[in-house]
Symmetry: C2
Subunit: 333 residues, 2 copies
DNA sequence: TTGAAAGCGCTAACAG
DNA sequence: CTGTTAGCGCTTTCAA
C-alpha cells in the first residue's frame, strides 16, 4: 500500500486537513506545524495522489492535445511550443495523433473528456459540422491551433495564410517573373490547400500574369509529391520560371526535382516554400520561405487555453500572428 | 452537474453496480437489462468519469513518456511508434520534454507517478546513479527506448550502436578509403557519443588506418555543427576522404559544409549518416546511412511496457533490434 | 443475474 | 490556525 495523506497526518500528529493545506501551500498553517508535516512527508516518502485530488477538486491539471501527426516536422515544432507553455503553467499534456481522420478526432475528444482534461488544444484539417457540434458540447474550453474554423466562432491561433501566400507570390511577380507555378496541398485542406491556393490565385490575377490552372500541381505535403509536382510543371510547353510550394517539405522536393533534370535554382527556376521549418536551411540552395512561427502558434494557443481554463477575460478569441518572408538563396531577390 | 452512473441507474431502474457491469462489458448481465442500461446511457448522454474509475480501480490506462525533445525529427518518429501501439492497447500518453536535463527528468518521473500512470517509457541520455535509484523506487514498470543503461538491468529497446558504427566505417575502409573522419555527438552521450565513436575507433584500429584523434570532430547533433565539423576536418593537412556522422542531421551539415567549399560528394569525400530519418532522402546526393528503425523502437518498447503492465511473462528484457545499411549516393559503393 | 455497501485518497466547506 | 465531516464517481467484494 502506498502511503496516504492519512498516514502523514497520523505521523505528524495533525489532521489530514492540515496535511492537505501544507501540500497545497495554503498559508493558514503555523510554521511549526508546517514543519512537522513536511518532516513526516519526507520521512514517509509521501507522494500525493493526483487522481484522488482530481476527483475531489474536479481539476486534473491535464490538457488534451489532438495533433494530426507528431512525426511531421511542422507539428512536432508546434507541439514543443504547446508543451513548454503547458509546463510553465503546471499542466501536463495528453497527446494523441488523429491523422486528420474525422472519426478518430471525434473519438479522441470524447476519450479526453472522459479523462476529465481541463481543456483541449485541437489541430486538424477541416472543421466539419460534426466537429462544431462536438466542440459546442464540450464542458471544457477548446482552442484551435494552426487550424481554420470557417465561422470563426471558435478560439483559435493562426497566421493569415491567404495573405501570406499572396505576399510570397507577389514578391515573385514584382521581381519580374512572368509565370509562377504552384505546388499546393489537397484543396480540401482549408489551410495548406484552399487558403494558400487562393492567395496564389489572387496574386496571379491582380498582378498581371493571370490565373492558369495548368500551372498548379496538387501534392500531399510529402517531399516526393513536391518532386513530382516540379517535374510536371516544368514539362509544360510554357513552363513556369518560379514555383511556390505550400510547405517547405514539398519545396525541397521541388528544388531537387528541378535539379534532378538539370535545371538550376534559382537561375532557371526560383522556388519559395512555406513554414520556415528547419528544413529550409538544410538544402542547397537554401530556401526562401514564408515564416510561419510554429513554436509561437503552439505557445500562444496554449496560453490562450490557460486563460479560458482559469476563466480569465480574453480580449482576442481569434488571434492572427504576423507572418513574414525569409529571403535565402532559392530566389534571386 | 454531469450525469453520473447513479443517474443512469435510476433512469434504467437498476443499481449502479449493474450499470458499472455493462459499461465494463461484464458478461453477467441479462441482455434485456443490458439494453435498458444502454438506452439510459444513450438517452442521458452519459460519459464515464475516468478519474473516478482510476481512483477506485487503481488503473489509469495512461502511460508517461519522457522524451528529450519532441521537435527533433528522430524522437518525433519514435514517439509516433509509441503512440500508435499505446492506442492499440487502449492507453493514452502523457508526453513531456526533458531536454536531457537530469533534474527535469527526475522531476517528471515523480510528476507522472503522482498522476498514477500505469507505466513509464523513458528516453534520455545518460542513466546516472540517481536515475537508477529513482527507477528502482518506481511502483510501476519503466522501459527505456533508444537509451542505454550501462548495467543492462533495466528493460530497454535499442540497436547495437557500437556494432552499427563499426559496420559503417568498415564498409568505407573496405571500399578503399584510407582516411575516415568522424563527426560525433558529445562523448558523454552513451549512444550518439560514446558507442558510435567507439565503433568508429575500433574499425579504424582493426582495419588498418589506425586511430587519429585529429580526425574526430565533436558536434551537438545539429545541422550546423555538422557543417562546422566538416570544414574543420577538411582543413587538416592530411584530410579525410570520407566522413561518418553520428546522426543524419549532422550528416546533412557535413555534405553541405563540403559542398560549400567546393568539394564534391562522393567524388572527393564520401559521407555516411546514422538513423535513416526522412532527411536522408531530402538531400543531394542522397545520403547513405545506417538504418535505425525509430518507429519500431518506439513500437516495440511500448509493447514491452504493456506486457509489464499486464504482468505478462517477458522473455527478453533487453531487446536489440537489427540495424542495416541503406546505400545511396553519398558513397561510391 | 443483481443489489448493497464499503472504500479509493483527497478537497472543501464549516465549526471552533 | 486546526479538526470534522461530507462527498467526488466509480469498482469491487459479498450476499442474496
Amino acid at each position: 500500500m502506498n502511503t496516504t495523506i492519512y498516514d502523514v497526518a497520523r505521523e505528524a500528529g495533525v489532521s489530514m486537513a492540515t496535511v492537505s493545506r501544507v501540500v497545497n501551500g495554503n498559508p493558514n498553517v503555523k510554521p511549526a506545524t508546517r514543519k512537522k508535516v513536511l518532516d513526516a512527508i519526507e520521512g514517509l516518502g509521501y507522494r500525493p495522489n493526483a487522481v484522488a485530488r482530481g476527483l475531489a477538486s474536479k481539476k486534473t491539471t491535464t490538457v488534451g492535445v489532438i495533433i494530426p501527426d507528431i512525426s511531421s516536422i511542422f507539428f512536432a515544432e508546434l507541439a514543443r511550443g504547446i508543451e513548454d507553455i503547458a509546463t510553465m503553467y503546471k499542466y501536463n499534456i495528453i497527446l494523441c495523433n488523429s491523422d486528420q481522420n474525422k472519426e478518430k478526432e471525434i473519438h479522441l475528444i470524447n476519450t479526453m473528456l472522459e479523462k476529465q482534461v481541463d481543456g483541449i488544444l485541437f489541430m486538424g484539417g477541416e472543421i466539419t459540422e460534426e466537429h462544431a457540434e462536438t466542440f459546442k458540447r464540450s464542458p471544457v474550453p477548446i482552442v484551435l491551433a494552426a487550424t481554420l474554423d470557417a465561422d470563426k466562432e471558435m478560439p483559435s491561433v493562426n497566421i493569415n495564410y491567404h495573405q501570406a501566400a499572396f505576399d510570397a507570390v507577389s514578391d515573385l511577380i514584382n521581381a519580374g517573373v512572368k509565370r509562377v507555378g504552384m505546388v499546393t496541398g489537397p484543396l480540401e485542406d482549408p489551410v495548406n490547400g484552399y487558403q494558400k491556393f487562393s492567395g496564389y490565385k489572387k496574386a496571379c490575377e491582380e498582378k498581371g500574369q493571370g490565373f492558369d490552372e495548368n500551372l498548379v500541381a496538387v501534392g500531399d505535403y510529402t517531399y516526393h509529391s513536391g518532386l513530382e509536382g516540379a517535374q510536371k510543371l516544368v514539362g509544360l510547353d510554357d513552363s513556369p520560371t518560379a514555383i511556390f510550394a505550400a510547405t517547405d517539405e514539398m519545396a525541397l522536393g521541388v528544388i531537387h526535382g528541378l535539379q534532378d533534370i538539370g535545371l538550376k535554382v534559382p537561375e532557371d527556376v526560383q522556388v519559395i516554400g512555406f513554414d520556415n521549418t528547419r528544413l529550409a536551411q538544410m538544402v542547397r540552395p537554401t530556401l526562401t520561405t514564408v515564416v510561419q512561427p510554429m513554436y509561437d502558434i503552439g505557445a500562444v494557443s496554449m496560453r490562450l487555453l490557460t486563460k479560458y481554463m482559469n476563466k480569465e477575460d480574453v480580449e482576442d478569441e481569434v488571434v492572427a500572428l504576423p507572418h513574414l518572408m525569409e529571403y535565402r538563396d532559392s530566389t534571386t531577390f
